[in-house]
């Protein structure tokens, strides 16, 4: 799970608004802002408490990180994020694993807003 945490942190860090930073320490993924060092810590290993295989747990972990960090960004900026033209509400986080690949990002029902680089779960397990 620590490798997954690092992979998630690296990807999410690239797409958050300026000033927000994401890092990983062990299985903890952390969000920080310019004014608050640690806005939120997420222990993604807790996903294994309720999901019995790594692939499904990885999907839960990805969704958790994207969803909760999005929540914090919105609360911090006081505006919807991320959005797309024609939409007033923020896109929804998604994390889906299929055949060893974790796909993640933010999307509306009809379009994807942020599509992060997929994570090869088989490589992490190996």
């Amino acid at each position: 799970m620590s490798s997954l945490a690092a992979a998630l942190a690296a990807r999410v860090d690239q797409v958050l608004p300026d000033g927000f930073q994401v890092s990983a320490t062990g299985t903890i993924v952390s969000l920080s802002t310019p004014t608050e060092e640690a806005l939120r810590d997420i222990d993604i290993s807790l996903a294994l408490n309720h999901v019995d295989n790594f692939s499904a747990a990885a999907a839960v972990a990805a969704w958790r990180v994207l969803n909760d960090f999005q929540d914090d960004v919105i609360a911090y900026l006081w505006e919807a994020w991320p959005t797309a033209e024609g939409h007033t509400s923020p896109a929804e986080a998604y994390g889906e694993s299929d055949q060893g690949v974790l796909r993640l990002g933010y999307r509306y029902s009809d379009s994807t807003v942020i599509d992060l680089e997929p994570i090869d779960l088989t490589a992490l397990c190996g």
């Binding site: 640690a38 806005l39 939120r40 810590d41 997420i42 222990d43 993604i44 807790l46 996903a47 408490n49 309720h50 999901v51 499904a56 999907a59 839960v60 972990a61 969704w63 958790r64 969803n67 909760d68 929540d71 609360a75």
Partner: protein
């Protein structure tokens, strides 16, 4: 800050009788159920549904709702916004095991700590609860009261 947490200064975020519950080991159930089920609750049938429920307490209330897709959303609303600032350490549990939804941070202004638990973690028939403490900047310590509900 923990050393300043005296029993008399502990307030409940959930049930009004949290302190009494702690002392007398009363059942961990919703307020409406407490009136008719005494003294011990262990079966699923005796717990309320997580569909839409509030647990009002002395200092605030815990709200739990379940969306049609099975996601369980939770939030804690303090009655007095002056109590919100402080250190929050809140976890959510399904069948007494932590989920990935938590709230561990310091707040400096108005906010409603909240989160959601996806169906992968919030399995149907499971017991969901919100547990933790708030050490408010104004010196009060709040503690969640028992608030188990059944995920439907």
């Amino acid at each position: 800050m923990k050393t300043a947490c005296k029993v008399g200064a502990v307030w409940s975020l959930g049930l009004a009788a949290v302190l009494a519950s702690t002392v007398t080991a009363e059942p961990a159930i919703a307020a409406d159920a407490r009136a008719r089920i005494v003294p011990v609750v262990t079966s699923t049938a005796q717990l309320p549904s997580c569909r839409s429920i509030e647990y009002p307490g002395d200092g605030g209330k815990i709200s739990v709702q379940t969306a049609p897709n099975g996601t369980v959303a939770w939030g804690i609303t303090m009655y007095n916004q002056a109590d919100v600032a402080g250190r929050w350490d809140i976890d959510t549990l399904v069948n007494a095991r932590k989920t990935t939804s938590s709230f561990h941070r310091a707040l400096t202004g108005p906010y409603i700590p909240h989160g959601s638990v996806p169906p992968a973690e919030a399995t149907r028939g499971g017991h969901f609860s919100v547990a933790g403490t708030l050490v408010s900047a104004n010196g009060k310590t709040f503690q969640t009261a028992p608030n188990d509900c059944i995920i439907l």
